[in-house]
Subunit: 569 residues, 2 copies
């Protein structure tokens, strides 16, 4: 009716797309070997929508009338499917709970505004009615930023930005596009592409996340080494706040005091609802190429990425997987094509003869964009660095495959949940000097945590973004657990990883935001004074806590997620 | 006693350095022609320190005892010279008032802490005593950020960070240095240079401004196109806030909610006293070169800078002066060397033959750094762009001179004040599409304002920093006025320029900060909602307004500077 499409209520992505193991002959043996899990069993069915117990909407007639007046009846929705879809994001915690039918508190109504003005009226109506407002973009968040507080007794209004999906204007001279916040990645790239532009922002969630969501959570994309994180990309903003609209005009740079732009970035709905942004766009490059490399060790790969970053090359992607993720990549290849072409007995013999430990091979991708000459020069610089660190170019085949398949990764979590394993991701950023020790500490902490809960599991990592001063390490981890206690055990591992990030000089998250999932570590990351600053900011703008309360600032015990049972003292 | 050196109490820089016209034969005729001012007259003497009426210190015995206990007697100073030095920054408004002996409210005491811990104790003591605390770095601010509010009845404590001037540590692996906030530009570059590093941050005020001041006001340097503005350079921070210390660990990037780092940047002392920062440092480049170019018009020069920015070159400096500033540059050259070598009858004949209007020549500098090959390639790309826009390379001579003399520019204001003219600067940033119209509007507005106050004057401009989406335009303007009303007339011009920035899509300041000088335009720049956000932030952290009150947030009538008489309605 509203025309807005959503992901599956019970999992990632759209119907008809799912992860399969049958076309990946190495995967089942790999998982059996590493985790002791047989993934060849048919998946369990999750509940049907009809099986769910959905608490009745608490929306008052008065607020319904007000909202209906603002957006029209067709755009005020409280049917079961919509309410379930809007009740959570897509973290593995969210997926597990929804699949179990543990919905918790569910939004009482979903409104679909069609303009900034309507959003402003909705914000004001919610504050007037002392209702809770939770903005909703693509619903892809994995940090609990969409969580409805269990203890919340007020009415919950989910504001879905899905109808605000247009590129409003492009300043061709300045390379700036004004885009509505609800535009999904593919939608806005399609609209920009028609006029020869690209935003160049490609997070894993690209297909199902929105511009507004990226800004509200400080997203990064796969080509952010070149195009910048969303914080740099976003030059102007419009946000509906209680009683007034924030309008930040597009500026290349400014020295107007504490940066309001940088306060809206990462605000996760706590200051208002972002309705549009003016962002930097770029002309499509003549050449775009991703080269793959092998390194004899992760340490060598990390050093090479650092040297590339401080070289005179200017790459678009700098990525290297540890040996664990490389082995997983090898195991998920289809019968032909991609990396599997490389993992031939012949190549392996060559590497062995060179003295490589084949279990330590690390796969790397480096991206290049620009004119032919520019790309050739960058590749020349990179080639030399790779070889200084004992690496080896293995062509563009794997990179092409990576490029095509990069947005399908999140589907694997549903596949694993169907077969008794919970998998998710945690990422951090740290100075180059702290990166390898942090990595070693995280692997050890995760393995200790798995031993503590007496479950098998797996953890793997890649470096995903490079900066002058450091890089992002992106960990994926899984725990084999089919029991009702899976979330509690998962939390033991997740907590160990997050705490190790902090203890090793990293941040709690590089680009997934805070939500309620990471808020327990905020005080350790930013110091108590940093949390005081953020707390005062939120309290000043939103004194009654109507705007997505409970996110970013942790309200429970330090170091303990509010989302699962507390561990024994 | 404290060992901390300051600038002249009545002007810019140190004793023994001053601007002279005698060695610049073209200057006096130029000024006479353009402004009708005879600068060959001997300069007026300003007041002597002994002539000033300095209000007695209002420091209570109790607060003095507390401060003495914290920093020791030698570091609690209230002699006349120190109090006058700390009473203002170095805007032309500050210079005029100090030279007249119009000191206004003067700090009651200056304390020179020797450690972060001492700063923290000072902050707490000031809040406890309900005193006003104004942090002081190099004292170079020209936005009124050091202004002591006239109506302030509480005790005023100026906290001079001058003793905190050490590079504390360098992380050679990550390229990060932890430096105390009171380190002046030359001091920290010397300490870094000894270990082969540079910060690469070179604002005009470099010799007399500090790291903490740069951060507190969102400074940019001449090579920020390559090294980034101070906001990007600053990765970690330590700040003494009321009752607690903010510690932001150095991180390459993070998604921990609204950026506290970006709230401290530009906070101008209103959230606390910055005591140290961890900043990105770089290895000294093999080659460093500044090439000079002539363009037939400012419009052509602007387009060329834009094309360089969006090219595959990666320059360190992109600067082009309008024809007014170019003429001024020609006029300030010494008898031999620099641009004067170029401004020969021979070259001018060549340009004339090419059809150039010699009054429209625009001088441009483009900087290159890196390996020989890298610099050669960048120069090749730039060369092509320059020639596409009708420009002409005129070698490295002028650039070398510019490079040596760039930090001497502020001295000229004292020279002019001595001879009956008030000069200062206003800078903005705007999208590329708005740059030329903004420029035209500002020139027109300034000339109209000069006509309105019936005084001759001059305004000139250069583009100083380039970004993907736009650039900084940096205006210098002067008004010939020897009367007691010079400030009121100066304000008419300054207001016209600032309002035109806003009306033409620019920001009120690109890198000079807000203070009290620019605060009247904050609401127009950031919208009222943006000011609400900043106001709530300040009020939350500093409810009694002990921390540098009155800065950033304007408290008077909109559009009117609080610093001079209000215009008639």
């Amino acid at each position: 009716m509203t025309g807005v499409k959503h992901m599956k209520w019970w999992g990632w992505g759209v119907d008809g797309i799912a992860f399969h193991h049958e076309d990946k002959p190495r995967l089942a043996p790999f998982v059996l070997d590493k985790v002791g899990l047989d993934i060849t069993t048919p998946g369990r069915r999750s509940l049907q929508l009809e099986d769910l117990t959905i608490p009745p909407s608490r929306l008052s007639d008065q607020l319904r009338a007000t909202l209906t007046k603002i957006v029209g009846q067709a755009n005020v929705v409280d049917d079961d499917l919509d309410r379930v879809v809007h009740t959570k994001g897509k973290s593995v915690r969210d997926l597990i709970r929804v699949r179990r039918g543990e919905l918790g508190r569910v939004p009482d109504v979903i409104v679909y505004p069609g303009s900034h003005e309507e959003v402003q009226e909705i914000v004001d109506a919610c504050v007037d009615a002392d209702a809770v407002l939770i903005p909703f973009g693509g619903g892809s968040n994995i940090a609990g930023s969409l969580e409805v507080p269990l203890e919340e007794n007020r009415q919950i209004v989910s504001v879905d930005l899905g109808r605000l999906n247009k590129v409003l204007s492009i300043d061709d001279e300045a390379g700036l596009a004004t885009i509505q916040a609800g535009a999904l990645g593919p939608d806005l790239e399609e609209q920009l592409g028609r006029r020869g532009w690209t935003l160049g922002h490609f997070p894993d969630s690209f297909s199902h996340s929105t511009l507004g969501g990226w800004i509200a959570t400080r997203s990064s994309g796969m080509q952010s080494d070149k195009y910048g994180d969303i914080a740099e990309i976003t030059r102007g903003l419009k946000m509906a706040m209680p009683g007034e609209t924030l309008e930040l005009r597009p500026l290349p740079s400014t020295s107007t005091g504490p940066s309001v732009r940088e306060m809206v970035l990462g605000s996760e709905g706590r200051l208002g609802v972002i309705t549009e942004a003016t962002v930097q766009v770029h002309r499509l490059p003549e050449v775009r190429e991703i080269q793959a490399y092998f390194f004899p060790s992760f340490a060598a790969g990390l050093k090479a990425m650092h040297d590339i970053t401080r070289s005179e090359a200017n790459v678009t992607v700098s990525r290297v997987s540890d040996e664990r993720e490389t082995a997983f990549s090898f195991a998920t290849q289809k019968k032909s094509g991609g990396v599997s072409k490389l993992v031939t007995a012949g190549l392996m013999r060559v590497l062995k003869a060179r003295g490589w430990d084949l279990d330590q091979i690390c796969l790397s991708f480096v991206g290049f964009e620009g004119s032919k000459g520019h790309v050739a020069r960058q590749k020349g610089i990179v080639k030399e660095i790779i070889s200084e660190h004992g690496g080896m170019n293995v062509g563009t085949g794997p990179g092409q495959l990576y490029d095509q398949k990069k947005f399908d990764t999140p589907y694997i979590r549903d596949f694993l949940l169907d077969r008794g394993a919970a998998a998710d991701v945690s990422e951090t950023a740290a100075p180059w000097s702290k990166l390898k020790p942090l990595y070693d500490n995280v692997i050890e902490a995760a393995e200790n945590a798995l031993a503590e809960v007496d479950r098998s599991g797996y953890i793997m990592c890649h470096l995903s973004h490079s900066y002058h001063a450091g890089a992002c390490l992106y960990f994926t981890f899984a725990i084999a657990d089919d029991s009702p206690e899976v979330l509690e055990r998962y939390d033991v591992v997740k907590r160990a990883i997050q705490q190790t990030f902090i203890d090793s000089g990293g941040t709690l998250s590089h680009h997934h935001g805070v939500g309620v999932e990471h808020s327990p570590w905020m005080e350790q990351d930013l110091s108590p004074a940093g949390m005081k600053i953020i707390g005062e900011l939120f309290a000043g703008v939103d004194p009654k806590q109507n705007l997505n309360p409970g996110k970013v600032v942790h309200t429970g015990r330090p170091g303990v997620s509010v989302l699962s049972k507390q561990p024994e003292d």
